[in-house]
């Protein structure tokens, strides 16, 4: 081509040639430049391509990773995970979901609506609308039916799934089985309900306080104090307490605050709304924080106005009884004195008649005068015994330990025992906490009775005692005349002497019975006529 150009050139003028030459020169330079640029660009492009391939590979790997990781999450998530289309047809479920609902997606299609517990349907629909509107819902709590028609409580957080055009095409939800929680929450709520029912219907007034301020009260507290619940909440404990009584409880309250006293009971008066007072037994317990500081105090208040009144009534009754007992005792003494005095006078007068007429009275008259005297003696004994009987029940009992062995010895020393009668203690007798004077009288009467009715040439009186639970059972046996069965009850009654004798008034055994009764014991006897009698009685240990 260059040769062909040469031949052409020979035919051109020099000027023309020169122009061509310059143009060609320029053209060459431009091409060279373009080639350089092109070369540079293509090198750049190559580098870029290399780079891109590398990052693409990386990206692919990343995506792959993410997908498998997601798949892992999807399958391993403990909570049930459900994907559904916008109509509610379930597209995908993880194992937990399959287990929870009991449906296997591989076998049968499910629509979530069929899972909804009917009573919760409206709530479910509202939540679904919220999902559509805002793209998500959280904290959905409702019941569902499982395939085998069991009811489970579930908690669901859900969100919409969009396609590339931002159009909602489905939804995904994480479903947690909260049946157990719900049940225990239900139990707690139920317990709370029960507890508040107990508190509210308690027959004790209950007041919760904090630093002396009333923070809660129950029905009974309101009823007792005549304030409404809200009125009470504005009040301080001192507002409803009598000042003197309040000072005492403040003192105890301080001990509770400072010295860790956990509980105390006081009897104090409260002031009702109408100003009247009510006596109450108040039992205060501290409820503490973990650091030991007091959170609040619970006061259980029992209205004891009635109780106190009863106690006062009882006391005044006791006092009246004591007084009338004393009066009776006094009366018995006066009567016995008034009855005894004339006996003394008659006795003296008879004696003087005898003295003054010692020479003129015949034997019969003297005998009659002697009969008057013995009658007077009998009368005197009777009065003494009646007085003694009436004294048994009255007067305060002076209980003290008494050694019964010593008591028997005292009787042995101070009483007359005919030579042919022996008094024997069969085994050591106990020491009892009793009224000494009365118990001495008891043994004395029984032993002197035994002495009186012994008709054998060798008389024997045996005293014995055996333990019987909370009691000691004593026995005093004799080998005297004995008592017929029909009289075994009667002899303990007043004036029931079986043998009219000079020493017997028929009151001795009545006194014995009364003393045993007063010691919460029992008395009875066993006897064989002609062989002897044994009196048994019990005395509390």
């Amino acid at each position: 081509m260059v040769l062909r150009f040469g031949s052409v050139l020979q035919e051109m003028s020099d000027d023309q040639l020169k122009i061509y030459e310059r143009a060609l020169k320029r053209e060459r330079a431009a091409r060279k430049q373009a080639e350089a640029i092109l070369e540079k660009k293509s090198a750049e492009l190559f580098a870029l391509t290399q780079e891109l391939t590398k990052s693409n590979r990386k990206l692919e790997k990343l995506v792959l990773e993410k997908t498998s990781r997601l798949k892992g999450v999807f399958h391993n998530i403990i909570d049930a995970y459900v994907v559904m289309n916008i109509r509610g047809d379930v597209l995908e479920m993880n194992e937990a979901a399959t287990k929870l609902f009991g449906y296997d997606l591989a076998i049968e299609p499910i629509n979530v609506v069929s899972l909804i517990y009917k009573a919760d349907l409206k709530y479910a629909m509202d939540s679904y609308n919220q999902l559509l509107e805002h793209g998500f819902f959280t904290n959905y709590r409702a019941r569902i039916f499982t395939k085998d028609k069991q009811i489970r409580w579930v908690h669901i957080n859900a969100s919409l799934i969009y396609d590339e055009h931002k159009k909602a095409i489905g939804a995904q939800g994480i479903v947690r089985d909260i049946t157990e929680n719900q049940l225990s929450a239900g139990i707690i709520a139920e317990q709370q309900k029960k507890l508040s029912a107990i508190v509210d219907y308690s027959s004790l007034a209950i007041i919760l306080t904090q630093d002396g301020r009333i923070i809660q009260t129950n029905r009974k507290a309101q009823e007792l104090l005549q304030f409404t619940e809200s009125e009470l909440i504005d009040l301080h404990v001192k507002d409803i307490s009598l000042k003197d009584d309040h000072d005492i409880s403040v003192n105890l309250m301080n001990q509770m605050n400072q010295e860790g006293l956990d509980h105390f009971v006081v009897k104090k008066r409260y002031i009702k709304k109408d100003g009247s007072k009510v006596w109450a037994k108040t039992s205060v317990a501290a409820v503490r924080n973990e650091d030991g500081s007091i959170l609040y105090q619970v006061a259980l208040i029992e209205d004891i106005t009635e109780q106190i009144k009863n106690e006062e009534d009882r006391q005044s009754l006791m006092q009246r009884l004591e007084k009338s007992n004393d009066e009776l005792q006094e009366y018995a003494h006066v009567v016995s004195h008034d009855l005894k005095s004339p006996l003394r006078s008659i006795y003296a007068l008879v004696e003087w008649m005898k003295e003054d007429n010692i020479d003129s009275f015949d034997q019969a008259t003297l005998q009659n005068l002697a009969l008057i005297e013995s009658t007077l003696e009998k009368m005197e004994l009777l009065i003494s015994d009646v007085l003694s009987f009436s004294s048994v029940s009255s007067g305060e009992k002076k209980l003290a330990p008494v050694d019964i062995n010593e008591l028997i010895e005292e009787i042995r020393q101070t009483h007359f025992f005919p030579k042919h009668i022996s008094l024997v203690i069969k085994r050591p007798l106990p020491t009892l906490n009793v009224d000494r004077v009365r118990v001495l009288q008891l043994f004395q009467n029984l032993i002197s009775n035994a002495v009186r009715y012994i008709d054998k040439t060798e008389g024997l009186i045996e005293v014995d005692a055996v333990e019987k639970g909370a009691f000691y059972q004593f026995s005093i046996g004799d080998n005297g005349i004995g008592i017929e069965k029909q009289y075994h009850q009667k002899i303990f009654k007043m004036f029931q002497s079986l043998n009219k004798s000079k020493e017997s008034t028929g009151i001795g055994l009545a006194i014995v019975k009364k003393i045993v009764d007063n010691h919460q014991g029992d008395i009875w006897l066993e006897s064989k006529v002609g062989k002897g009698s044994t009196f048994f009685f019990t005395l509390r240990k």
Partner: protein, 150 residues
Amino acid sequence: MTLYGLYYKRSKTMKELKILLIEDDTIEVMKLNRAIKKLEMSHQLIEARNGEEALKILKEDKNLPDIIFLDLNMPKINGIEFLRILKTDEVLRFLPTIILTTSNNQKDMLECYQVGIAGYILKPLKYDDYVYKIGKTLDYWSENELIKII
């Protein structure tokens, strides 16, 4: 019959006593009189039927008795009330007062001893016993050194 006065030998130091008997019962007064006589004692007996009369006697008589025998059961001022009055008097409080009664009421006895008595004699039923007791009591007081109050 054993009469006290017949076998008992009296000592030479024995004094004759001036006794004020406060007793409302006529026969009781007779009893003491007869007993003193029977015992062949030469004590002087002044009789008062009740507490008021006794107080009158004690206020008027410049020659006060050596001892007082006092019955507890009397109308108006009873024995214990009389005793209390006696014990508040500057002079009369020194008079030994012996209770002579049929009542052995524990309450009365405690009260009497608390207020201040010189003895508490229970009147027995039998007259001989009575004479015996009175004899012993009077003998005892005859042997006592008594203060003369002016």
